[in-house]
Symmetry: C2
DNA sequence: CTTGCGGTCGCAATCGTTTGCGGTCCAGCA
DNA sequence: TGCTGGACCGCAAACGATTGCGACCGCAAG
């Protein structure tokens, strides 16, 4: 009983060679009876193959890297939870790397993941290490990007349905009669920031409303942005009747900003947020959101990765997928209090 | 340029044997000049040692398992983030396992971690797999438990300062003049649930106040518990003047419960929570909390684990550590509105 | 000149597993 | 009985690194 039991031990006890034992455990390569006998013995001994030795030989580590910016963001958190569960069920383990959206940290993470012989990668890229990711992909390590696109490389990518989501959200507010809709959004460097802004603009255009840059406040994904956005958007001249907050980090700041100004939701101002998280449903009033579906996104990312790991994916490279967003109406939006007549919207376009 | 560059490639280019190359890279085992020359060549080639091969020989995988119940809880989330950063800096990678507080999933996670030859473990145990953890420890894999104690095994454990934290929190409310303090707390099966309750009781006893079981509502770590707690504690006869909510999941439910009843914090009711999280500071009013210091807890867990991995830890087995909790006063607590005179508290005891 | 010694380096074994290749054995058929 | 073929199984070589041991070299001391 010294250390873990190896294949040699199993073979010795079964009075066969190591290779036979190996084949018996693999299955189908020996006679029925020896196969069953050896499997029984292995089970009795509690044999567990040494993954390092196997990996050395077969160049497989059963390790998948997950590279995200943080775990505070609900989308990343859900991604990690779902990916972990699904991959474990498929016999893989998850190596967690956190980059803080910093290209240098991302590069280091990629290097160590390569050294660890990770077999696949799910990553929300910073956008600065595209070549490196492409190299991994060429070297046979499937890489699936999520949430953000890396413009500098052609990689399979799974994005949220941000243009449609922001469009649907804006449209919802328009349909309620709002005409001045403030937007607090992520910066244009990010895929989501750009796309959510574009969805907002498209909905406005369709409704025949002019785009007013003074109604848009862009900033980082943090509560302070929401607070600053409140100041910029609410303390000016003509105040918007609705606020569309396009990420949940900023939402916290907005809630405080509104409270500080004594503004009630939805009586004085309608509030719609992007990205659902537990806190929002529990607010009073419960905040309506555009749910970007992080769980579905994670599921698809894992599905695609597993398919490619098994070599079953179609040869078509670098497809891009979208996860549909959907509006969850709760209690934070209602028609504006003012005399503005309800807007007649044109039929939905695509 | 086929596949990754191995030690052989380096050695060949440097015109030395593989063993010399290995020693040169390890450092201090060859002459100064060859050492530098080979290290230069290795760098130029972009050599990265194959961790699997190294691990096979040295029985080290540079992998640390992190086993937690989920990532939604702020303490677990911070634990994961901090552990990831610290361990990566120390040359380790983090294998993430999520158990949902389910002993069966925990057991499976432990089995796969053992197979992956994880070198160490940071785990928040369910309490049902103590023997297995002890076996790992005996087999030379250091195990550090966090947040919860596993009663069925003697393991190094790092706990939050829950008895003191709950004591300090309750005392704070008492000092403000509250006498009827409602407590919403985790169930007694959990270390933290038990200990926070005990801290609360001790503070009450010291103040000479009777313990009233009708003021305590215990439940799972989820928002619904807070909502139910509101119903149980606020809709009864004599209403408490302060609420101490001993976990942040329940806090969400409490906030809604208070809003539904039209109760203002802190005007009608003081509110104190346990475990800080971003949302609480951004509430209006900002919620006072007892911060259980998850970052410090994670730091210590990593420190202890690294020490033991390097074999530098003292031989004394199964020490238990506590992370001091501290009160963060924000704006959700004030003296009760009623005529209750301020309470003269006895000097703080331990 | 020989011997001893410290400093370098190469040989080869080793970690545990997989796998190509060849050998053995037996059944079946002529 | 002899031959063929297929089913099983064992030998040994990998995978890429680490490491004990011994060979070799040069230099100083005897």
């Amino acid at each position: 009983m010294d250390g873990p039991v190896t294949l040699r031990d199993v073979a010795r006890l079964a009075k066969v060679s190591v290779s036979t034992a190996s084949r018996a455990l693999a299955g189908g390569l020996t006679s029925r009876e020896t196969e069953q006998r050896i499997q029984r013995i292995a089970a009795e001994l509690g044999y567990r193959p040494n993954i390092l030795a196997r990996g050395l030989k077969t160049r497989s580590s059963r390790l998948i890297g997950l590279v995200v910016h943080n775990l505070a963001n609900a989308s990343f958190r859900v991604l990690a939870e779902v990916a972990q569960a699904r991959l474990r069920a498929a016999g893989y383990q998850l190596l967690l790397c956190i980059t803080a959206d910093d290209p240098a940290q991302e590069e280091e993470a990629l290097a160590t993941l390569a050294a660890q012989a990770a077999e696949g990668l799910i990553i929300c890229p910073t956008g600065q290490n595209g070549p490196r990711l492409a190299a991994l992909e060429r070297a046979g390590t499937p890489v699936t990007c999520v949430i953000r696109r890396d413009e500098s490389a052609e990689l399979e990518t799974i994005l949220a349905g941000d243009p449609e989501g922001a469009y649907a959200g804006t449209r919802h507010l328009l349909a309620l009669g709002h005409r001045r809709i403030g937007l607090i959004v992520g910066r244009a460097e990010t895929t989501s920031g750009r796309e959510r802004l574009s969805g907002y603009r498209r909905a406005l255009e369709e409704a025949g409303l002019p785009f007013d840059a003074g109604l848009v406040h862009a900033g980082r994904y943090e509560p302070e942005t929401g607070l600053a956005g409140c100041r910029a958007l609410l303390d000016g001249g003509e105040r918007p009747t609705a606020l569309f907050v396009a990420n949940h980090e900023s939402t916290l700041g907005v809630l405080r900003g509104l409270a500080e100004r004594g503004l009630l939701v939805p009586e004085h101002l309608s509030l719609l947020c992007y990205e659902d998280m537990p806190g929002l449903a529990w607010q009073r009033p419960a905040i309506s959101v555009v749910d970007n579906g992080p769980a579905a996104l994670a599921e698809l990312a894992v599905d695609r990765l597993l398919l490619r790991l098994r070599g079953e994916a179609s040869a078509s490279p670098a497809r891009e997928y979208r996860i549909g967003a959907r509006l969850i109406e709760r209690q934070s939006c209602r028609p504006p209090a003012s005399r503005t007549p309800s807007l007649r919207l044109p039929a939905e376009a695509r």
